[in-house]
Amino acid sequence: MSGTQKYPGLPLLPPPFAAQQPPLAKVVEEKCIACNRCLPVCFFDALRIEERPGHALGRSAVVTAAHCTGCGLCFETCPVDAFVWVPDMSSSPSRPGRRI
């Protein structure tokens, strides 16, 4: 893939569990540098910075799972690859193409 690759951003393929449970973004707080890059791209108010007394920087980005639509843009903005996919175990799958 061409283009500037300062950091890889979103993995090119969805996580392996994506067909079973909806993927949610989650911040690996030990990696987060609280740089705020991810906050403006989230159109669903799913990201905030929270105080973390034990964290090296005292704060970290945090995902509000109930608001996350799994769009992937926060992954793209993270310069330290602190985002991972986790399955939303509280939700039933909504597969593309599913008729309801």
Partner: protein, 338 residues
């Protein structure tokens, strides 16, 4: 100075928020208004037949070739997108329009997708009843399901909608070789404006897994590079059709908006720029357009519309000079050296 007459509406700016993830909920409408948008085209609602489009793949977006500039400074990216439709029911959508109209001080344009003409017309009537100021028919989404043909289905749909509602009707067309023919067909079918153009379909491949990236199907692809063919389509349509043009695709600065208007657009719809560079993009565009008009001593933006088209040169009239001399040294074969 930026006031733009468009389909009977007086817009305070030619910059409109395009249908998509920046026009999916009511709070985004107030953000659009606060940042100076002239109007908002709401996220597209799909007919019940296509209600699977109300569910969204995860992830939905990959930024390719991104310059990774933040704080509104990005100028290069390709947005690779599996964007789908409005996520609620049609009843939710009519209520969405009603709430937007109750609170917004800028025009609200509904956007719909269906297949059979009857569904298009029925949905359009609901959009009108809910209070929308205009309606855009999204007949060209790169994500649209089915194998619907423009010549048959969509022309019939446009006629049905135009015959049913009293609000202005915009037809949003796909880029490509047929766009001019489709713009003419839209005008003949009674559409009041055309939106040029939707995103293209594209594909990227992960060479490690040897699979298409993300969900294994073509994605909608757009970015600042789209401005060049978009402007060409606007220019061609401006010369040919007699209805207003809402340009969209690739505009990320106020200068881009000015260019779109110089090739004939009345308004310019933006989305990717807001997604990547933030809502402040709209205010920045407005400032840049105003700065340009002041520098050029122009009172009204409308007075420059189509200026660049008016001074286009027919290809036969492009001045040509002799090419490479055929008896020159570069036309005498030389064996390559060691």
């Amino acid at each position: 100075m930026l006031t733009t007459s468009f389909l009977g509406m007086e817009l305070r700016s030619p910059v409109i928020v395009a249908s998509g993830p920046a026009s999916h909920d009511v709070n985004q409408i107030s953000l659009a208004e606060r940042h100076g948008a002239g109007a908002v085209v709401l996220k597209t609602a799909c007919s019940d037949k296509y209600q699977h489009m109300r569910f969204w793949p995860r992830p939905r977006y990959k930024l390719l070739d991104w310059d990774k500039q933040i704080a509104g400074r990005s100028t290069q990216f390709s947005l690779y997108s599996y964007e789908q439709g409005y996520s609620g029911s049609l009843e939710d959508y009519w209520e969405f329009i009603r709430v937007c109209k109750r609170h917004a001080g800028i025009p609200i344009v509904g956007s719909i997708f269906a297949d059979e003409a009857g569904d298009w017309a029925a949905m359009a009537a609901e959009v009108e009843m809910a209070g929308a100021d205009a309606i855009e028919l999204d007949i060209s989404s790169p994500h649209r399901p089915g194998s619907l043909e423009f010549d048959t289905t969509f022309v019939a749909a446009m006629r049905a909608v135009v015959g049913r509602v009293h609000i202005p009707v915009l037809a949003k067309l796909a880029p490509g070789t047929n766009v001019l023919m489709q713009a003419e067909a839209a005008e003949q079918a009674g559409a009041h404006a055309v939106t040029l153009c939707n995103r293209l379909q594209g594909i990227d491949v992960d060479i490690e897994s040897q699979r298409p990236i993300l969900h294994g199907y073509y994605a909608g692809i757009g970015g600042p590079w789209a401005k060049y063919y978009t402007m060409r389509h606007i220019a061609e349509a401006y010369r040919t059709v007699h209805i207003p043009i809402s340009g969209t695709g690739g505009a990320i600065t106020g200068e881009d908006v000015v260019k779109y208007i110089l090739v004939g657009a009345s308004t310019v719809q933006v989305l990717s720029a807001i997604l990547i560079n933030g809502w402040e993009t709209i205010a920045r565009m407005n400032e840049e357009i105003t700065g340009y008009l002041q520098r050029k001593g122009v009172d009204r933006l409308e007075s420059i519309r189509g200026q660049a088209v008016a001074s286009m040169t027919p290809p036969d009239n492009i001045v040509r000079w002799s090419g490479e001399p055929l008896d020159g040294t570069r036309n005498i074969w030389k064996e390559p050296g060691p």
